[in-house]
């Protein structure tokens, strides 16, 4: 609740800051201050939920999970501001507005992690999506950016309609919007409810770019200004997943109904893993590769949605943190380069050893190699699926795909370390270096001691 209020207010404040503050540099500092305040305000709730969760106004459930997830999302955004805040100025004139939109998205995410009512779910998804359509088209002079925005908007609006349809059908079956009281588990499952669940699954799968609802992802991520792609592909995607997970774990788990959607989601997961990984292999641009890698990683996060257990909830938080930190880091380095192809990284290790080391560690994390956060993230979601008991085939598909993912992540490492070249790199400031080192430390600490994060749950 605190996080929701503080992020929404910060958004409004930043919009006005953009009007009155001429110096763009200063706007960034206001944004950083606002995110730190939101972070602290969110953590201030933690003592109140230690004994158990509670529901406010019949709409929002404040729980350890929601507080922790908000902390991860806000923390990742803080890192994102520190690493890439400077890039906002390059996109266009309205820097204050961009920051404000990011805060509105965050408000949507905090809602997504704590909704206890289907209406709130719908609001959360919409608040997350609409600012994204604007951000995707922020570079008004670029045709690709315009295309991305329009494409995203049309497809997104369509999927929102499907989500609403799903909610309506479920309301028709259950007679309530309260997700804890839907009671759909009874056998035989109400046909309206079943249709509703399937429609909701499809709409949410669209939001998290799961196959076969992923077609917008590569174009939108590629066309949007890179600095916003970095945010959309990480924190926002994690927000989409947390809504997905809450919906299915709280409302649709247990009873006969879960058999129906487990199979559908398993197939979606397998398709996401296979298609995401295989397509990423064939990309020539690192930015596009990261777009497909985000689809592939979504496949792993879907494990947590399907497997309803303790490992899954811990896993989604760890995965959100690990994946967001690593991807934000790689994007931050990518934006410092002139050439976004794999060849653009040739010889980076000689020229900028710190950038190369940081990228390597982030890519290790994405590939799930031990002692980085990504390993335990994968570990937890795989454990969740294995504990589920009937998903071993999916786990095997998952690890085979993880091996494939090494191929495209390591292409960047090979280019940086083993190939000759003279990449054009923008000047690197001391602050950027410090933020990069901080991110590396976070990735390694989570990789050594994941209990520092999940111990809070």
């Amino acid at each position: 609740m605190n996080a929701l209020i503080s992020t929404a207010l910060s958004g409004v404040v930043l919009m006005f800051v953009g009007l009155f503050v001429r110096n763009k540099q200063h706007i960034k500092f206001y944004a950083i201050a606002a995110i730190i305040i939101s972070f602290i305000a969110n953590l201030a709730l933690y003592p109140t939920v230690q004994l158990g969760s509670y529901i406010q106004f019949g709409m929002i459930e404040v729980s350890k999970f929601s507080v922790l997830f908000n902390a991860v999302a806000l923390g990742a955004t803080l890192i994102y501001f520190l690493l890439s805040g400077k890039e906002f100025e390059k996109v266009g004139e309205h820097v204050g507005d961009y920051f404000a939109l990011i805060f509105f998205i965050l408000a949507g995410i905090t809602l997504a992690s704590s909704f206890s009512n289907l209406l709130m779910l719908f609001l959360a998804i919409e608040i997350m999506s609409i600012p994204q359509y604007v951000l995707a088209g922020a570079d008004r002079k670029s045709l690709k950016s315009n295309e991305a925005s329009l494409k995203y908007f049309l497809m997104g609006a369509f999927s929102t309609g499907i989500l609403l349809m799903g909610i309506t059908l479920i309301y028709g079956a259950a007679g309530t919007f309260n997700i804890a009281e839907l009671g759909l588990g009874a056998d035989p499952v109400h046909p309206l409810a079943l249709c509703g669940i399937i429609l909701m699954a499809f709409a949410l799968a669209f939001k998290v770019s799961a196959v076969p609802f992923h077609f917008w992802t590569p174009d939108v991520y590629d066309g949007s200004p890179t600095v916003f792609t970095s945010f959309m592909a990480t924190v926002v995607k994690a927000g989409g997943f947390v809504a997905f997970l809450r919906m299915f774990h709280v409302a649709f788990a247990g009873g006969a109904v879960s058999h129906h959607w487990t199979l559908i989601l398993s197939i979606i997961t397998a398709a996401t893993l296979i298609l995401g990984n295989f397509s990423a292999v064939f990309q020539q641009s690192v930015k596009r590769m990261l777009a497909y890698s985000s689809i592939a990683q979504a496949g792993f996060m879907l494990f947590a949605v399907i497997a309803v257990n303790q490992f899954a909830t811990q896993g989604i938080i760890l995965y959100a943190a690990a994946y967001s930190l690593a991807t934000i880091g790689v994007f931050a380095v990518l934006m410092k380069l002139k050439d976004y192809t794999f060849e653009g990284f040739n010889g980076l290790a000689r020229k900028q050893p710190l950038l190369a080391l940081a990228t390597t560690i982030f890519l290790f994390s994405l590939a799930g190699i031990p002692v980085t956060a990504g390993f335990f993230a994968k570990y937890f979601v795989l454990s969740a699926a294995i504990q589920h008991g009937h998903l071993l085939w999916l786990v095997i598909v998952g690890v085979l795909c993880a091996a494939i993912s090494v191929y495209y992540y390591f292409r960047v490492i090979m280019a940086m370390y083993f190939k000759q070249g003279d990449p054009e790199v923008e000047p690197i400031s001391g602050g950027f270096r410090a933020a990069l080192v901080l991110t590396i430390i976070l990735v390694l600490v989570l990789g050594l001691c994941p209990s520092l994060l999940i111990g809070w749950l």
Binding site: Y379, L392, V395, V399, L400, A403, Y417, C449, P450, S451
Partner: protein, 471 residues
Amino acid sequence: MLTVLLILIPFIAGLIAFGLKGSGPKVLGMIASLASVATAIGTVCTLHADPKKLSFVTNWIPQLGSQFRVGLDGMGTMLCLLTAIAFLLVFITIYNRDIERPNSFYGLMLLSQAGLVGVFTAFDALQFYVFWELALIPVYFLCSMWGGEKRIPVTFKFFVYTFLGSLLMLVGIIYLYFQTPDHSFSWTSFTSLQLSMGDQKWLFWLFFVAFAIKMPVFPFHTWQPDTYEQSPTPVTMILSGVMVKMGLFGVLRWLVPVLPEGAAMWTDVAIVLSIIGIIYASCIAMVQSDLKRLIAYSSIAHIGLMSAAIFAHNEQGTQGVLLQMFNHGINIIGLWIIVEVIQNRLGVKNMDQMGGIARKAPRMAIFLVIISLANIGLPLTNGFIGEFLMFSGLFQYNHWFMAFAGLGIILAAVYTLNMIQKVIFGEGNTLTDTTTDLQPGETVALSLVVIMIFVLGVYPQPMLDLVSKVF
């Protein structure tokens, strides 16, 4: 505490080495490897006096029930000793070589040593997995940065192969974790599991593939000759001398004790694969003209025999394997040292371009002959007793298997003698006339190898006593 020290010495030295300049890294590497050898000898003494002192447990991830749990039994101690000696030999040999970016080279070498020791001392499955991967990463960078022309694709293939194998193993580990009553990763909980036959049947493959890729056993071996050929020779020494032992170690420590019925069920398949590997690799070795590839294939053959003997499931076979793990490590490192010297002097590795080295470099020729003969297991050398025990173990299990595996010995003699003849005897040419004999550092390293060959060949009892101490 000594056990933790074994991991920490190379780890910390490795991190420091990255920051050093000039001759700093190689001096540090030498000091660290000497300290490791001393510590390893310390663990051998402690194992005889008070084995409990070698265990160390502390909490790691309490939510998962995973602990940082290290310990040493006879097998672990022997492998740690081998690791320490191997790195010392490598560092002595390359002490006078000019290596590009020595700080990264020595740093990565020492880190890989830390990873290897971590694998050999782990008694917690998750920790075992983590070290298993960690040992691989520095080696990946070493091979890709200092290797031959085709190093990048070749090393990458090696990495993906092993990574895939280890992911399958991870699935197996997680599955077993959920079967343990106390949800723990400790070795004791894993080994006391009572798994159904149906489970063991498929779990076996998750683990076996990971270990078979590492060893490598036919048909998972295709990464190995290319990688050995393209890697810089100091790294090849570590790969073939120590890293392949990770696979054998994995089978002995984790696969057979945890899944005994699964291992018993698939014994014949595993042995047949191993024996195919022996014969296949030996045949290819016979027609190789590339010195590095020849030794690579001979290594597949030797490892194949060891893996076959493990699956014979009897006392003698296992004893032989344990002994041979150490001896094979020493011998193959000795051979690689000589290859390294030849490459350093001549700049080629094709045997057709060599010849007549005996006249120009008699000391090197003598060492090559002794080590090659030890490698094919001539009596009175260290290779003999291990092979003898393995063959007798295999014979007890099934004499047909032993007969086919025995072909490997004959073939080994063929390609090894052929190699000796081509490399050191015969007419010299303009290239080989420029050869100079061994330098002091190389002589020291090779002398150490030869001393171990004869001591362990004539009196293997101390080593047998060491490896027979079980946890």
